[in-house]
Amino acid sequence: MSSVIAIIAVMAGVGMSFGLVLAYANKKFAVEMNPLIHVVEDALPKGQCGACGFAGCMAYAEAVVLDKDVAPNLCIPGKKAVAEQVGKLTGKVAEDIEPRVAFVKCSEPVSVGSKKYIYSGIEDCLAASLLHAGPKDCEYGCIGLGTCVKQCVFDAIELNDQGLPVVNKEKCTGCGKCAAVCPKKVIDMIPIDAHVAVYCNSHDKGAVVKKFCKLACIGCGLCAKLCPHGAVKMQNNLAVVDSSICAEKCTEMVCLDKCSTKAIKTYKIPPLEMEQAV
């Protein structure tokens, strides 16, 4: 009997004293933290992608609440809704963020594209690009080892049967992690409603690039000449589209007509053609 009492006494005493110490410590070592930080953190998507430039959603929530210079619209995956909510919570005005998605500029199939050598090293584009700028003949093309796929925290990219990365526009949040990691800079962030896009990343001259890729932009500049609004410009043998001009003025997309390799293509089906398609 006495041992039972001893057990109860010891357990109760020990438990009680630990409890009291913790209760006291909770008061004594309380850290004052702005409760708003947790509210803001709850509003964020918690992908911890780091697209905002902070170490994670919590770090961004802390910064946006405490620092008045941190803008409320930095969360790119959250898009407009989150920016507005964060702006409302922190009393800041959220400027619009243009929804962007990753776009793979190369369209030369990796599986059959012409190669300098057969690569059998580490399955990683960064490693492969160190060896003679990668196995592909085209120095600007997609290597197709899927470094961008591994980088995506939202499962928005996968490799298709040709070995090229395909972006799922529904899932892509536009955080830009894949674009940052690609050693060839094949991935670009473009507006989700871009009219046209150039499906090539090669800055080689037409004669060089024609040798190993039928789909490349040869840099002839016809599209740039045809565009009445100056939305297409030639930069270093590659056509570059300024989508903001397209969105404002383009009605006819003449740039598509004369392209001999069809490197410039429609990106989003415009409303008019969509009706016809139905």
């Binding site: 041992s3 001893a6 010891v10 020990v14 110490v21 580490i122």
Partner: protein, 192 residues
């Protein structure tokens, strides 16, 4: 002095808790994905083991032994470690926010780990003095940190390796852990 040094080295390499006694394997595999996280975890475990062993010794010798209830050791130690980790978290959060940021969630994960309970129990079983308990606990913590950092370095390299599909991830991690454990068995017999 020599005694303490031997005890320390023994705890670090010869009786390494993870690789020769197979305790604490859950965090050993769970947090060894990247090097900086595992270093933080190693430090948190070392701190918690050392301090909680000290308190455990005091509680054992001044409460459990006088009341003749040493059979309650395990359950009291569980209680002690859980509350001590809570306390440590509060103190660290208050006085060194930088350290708190680095340890982050690991500190609380440690509370439920078997190494942290195992070391004080072994100390009590071996009838160590207070000083010896602390040295043994610190050594065990350093040994754990060493093992998890080694493992994390291996796994970071493994991520770039061409591992067969069926072994990807944990499968190959188990194999690597086995190789590490084998190499640590090489130390056995060095210190009796």
């Amino acid at each position: 002095m020599n005694d303490y040094l031997l005890l320390f080295m023994g705890a670090v390499v010869v009786n390494n808790f993870v690789l020769t006694r197979f305790l604490g394997l859950c965090i050993f595999f769970g947090v060894s994905n990247n090097l900086s996280a595992s270093a933080g975890m190693g430090m948190a475990v070392t701190a918690v083991i050392t301090l909680s062993s000290m308190f455990a010794w005091i509680v054992h010798h001044y409460i459990l032994v006088p009341f003749n209830v040493t059979f309650l050791t395990t359950i009291v130690f569980v209680l002690l470690i859980a509350s001590f980790v809570q306390l440590l978290e509060m103190v660290v959060k208050k006085y060194t926010p930088a350290l708190h940021k680095m340890w982050g969630i690991y500190l609380l994960l440690v509370a439920t780990n078997c190494v942290v309970l195992g070391v004080p129990l072994i100390n009590v079983e071996s009838n160590f003095s207070l000083m010896k308990s602390i040295v043994n606990a610190f050594g065990s913590g350093v040994g754990f940190a060493l093992a998890i950092v080694l493992m994390a370095s291996c796994r970071e390299k493994l991520r770039l390796a061409d591992v067969p599909k069926s072994l990807e991830g944990l499968g190959v991690a188990f194999i690597v852990a086995g190789c590490l454990a084998l190499s640590f068995f090489g130390f056995s017999g060095m210190i009796k």
